[in-house]
Amino acid sequence: MHLDDEILRAYLDRSLEPAESGARQADIQDHLNACPDCRARLAALAARSARLQAHLAVLDPGPGEAAHSASSAFALLTTRHPSLSGKENLGMLSSLFTRRWRPLWIGLSALVLFTVAFSFPPVRAWAGSLLAQFRVHNITVVPVDATHLSELGTSSTIIQQISQAISDSMTVTKKPMKPQVAPNAAEAGKLAGFTVRLPQSRTDAPRITVEGGSAFEFVVNRARAQALLNEAGFSQPQLPASIDKAVIKVNIPVGITAAYGDCPNLDEGTTTMNASGSAGRRFLNCVLLAEIPSPTVDTPPNVDVEQLAEIGLQFTGMSPEEAHAYSATVDWASTLVVPIPRNGASYKQVGVDGVTGYLIQRPVDDAPQYVLVWVKSGIIYAIGGLGNGADNALAMANSLK
């Protein structure tokens, strides 16, 4: 049995139809392992796809042709069609335009650790770069080249220096609240300040913890930051001059975690689960649901985010050219980038809760993990657990109310 080009093509894009993809993906993988002809054809298809990518990329906006930011485009749309600005939104719209929010880079680990209750080892998850979003509407997943990073990680002085540089210049303007357990979704919602949704597909009551809510700001010292980047091997492109002495204010709202089943105690704010050994098996039925409204970032308006994003993307293992191309495809003003280890996890896009999200799976031998993450109406959701409960996670996500 040989695979025809059409199936290989869909397989290449990780886009075999969901209903069959579980079984099919595995069958195809098995066949490919055993069949050099099909492997060769897959490689040919991949090569052709790469050529087409290059051809079509020529059509992309070049310098001077880029879109205006989504916020100014939206303002333009509202000017042309005044009926768009509903009364209740006028406040948010005007604040968006007058303060001219811009996205910037901050420690993603703080955000990811909160919204994703299972963390991959810190070096991988953080990707050594700074990434923050102004208001999250989108999620995209970036595979991180773990070998590249572990080289960086072994040179731990660099990580230390980066942490030092950040903390030296950082001021906490609001400390996170003491975690509080809420008896139900309504109470949690009152404490947290947003509508907390719970899955109707579960009959057991979760332990709901309300926590977080911090704000901090820091001042960038461009020379020091560039020196660190140079040392780490990321000297191109250079940090823009406009970033020097830039004051960056970050606000991470209060969020909630709802723990179903037997879960480790998260009240102390620990968010790593030790997934191996007996501890792992004890928490096999633990499912964590996290909800947090989008963090916001305030920076001077002249900071060029795409350029910073290009630098950060290189930490994931991309070459400067790849980072440049990738950076142009993301609207950094509204996208949360989730880094995952390239060889340690797989991911795919899934339809969930009426939007497109990502299911990330990490098939560690005795304790596989999964995380389902998506954004809806400005709130970031994540459901994670051990074992093979991804289908249940999807059911939970689709039954949120």
């Binding site: 869909a10 087409l52 051809h55 070049g62 749309l77 069609h81 497109t356 400005g378």
Partner: protein, 178 residues
């Protein structure tokens, strides 16, 4: 449609819609105008029809883009406009001309394909997932892989035929075959 949902959709998809339209029409002002027009049409839709708002949005956007492109006169204007902008943006002139040439060639090839195949390639290589492409082009998600493989093959054949023929006239025949 709820304002907050619409705003969410706008922020989520604007950049990509612009990019897709830019790839089709090649011109910043028109790409933006058409992008806003597509979103305006989305706003006017009743919620009941929108099982897959993103798909619907891209369908409208590509249709608007190709309608705009089909006016032959405007296409020449786009090419000139692009070249002018490139030069003004301070790019190396040789590089700008090279790029403009390459764009003309790629667009020329796309125009000689069926509109559906051309749209398929533009959408896929702008990063849309199969489901969204299927909704945008009104085909079944199962057939996206098949059609994509064939469209890619067709593109390469046309592209290499193209580079083998010398002195071809600028702006090949406009193909409106479906």
């Amino acid at each position: 449609m709820e304002t907050t949902d619409f705003q969410s959709l706008f922020f989520q998809h604007y950049a990509l819609v612009y990019r897709v339209l830019f790839r089709v029409v090649g011109n910043k002002e028109d790409a933006q105008d058409l992008a806003l027009e597509a979103f305006w049409k989305l706003w006017q839709q009743s919620p009941a029809q929108l099982e897959n708002p993103a798909g619907w949005l891209f369908r409208v956007a590509t249709r608007l883009g190709y309608n705009a492109l089909r006016a032959a006169k405007r296409r020449e204007r786009y090419e000139l406009e692009t070249a002018r902008q490139a030069l003004e943006s301070g790019q190396d002139p040789d590089r700008a001309v090279e790029r403009a040439d390459e764009r003309r060639r790629v667009r020329g090839v796309l125009e000689r394909m069926t509109e559906r195949d051309a749209q398929l390639l533009v959408l896929r290589y702008s990063g849309l997932a199969y489901k969204e492409i299927a909704a945008a082009l009104d085909i079944s998600p199962n057939s996206v892989g098949t059609l994509l493989a064939r469209a890619e093959e067709a593109f390469e054949k046309l592209y290499s035929d193209d580079s083998h023929s010398e002195g071809r006239s600028e702006g090949g025949p406009h193909a409106s075959r479906r």
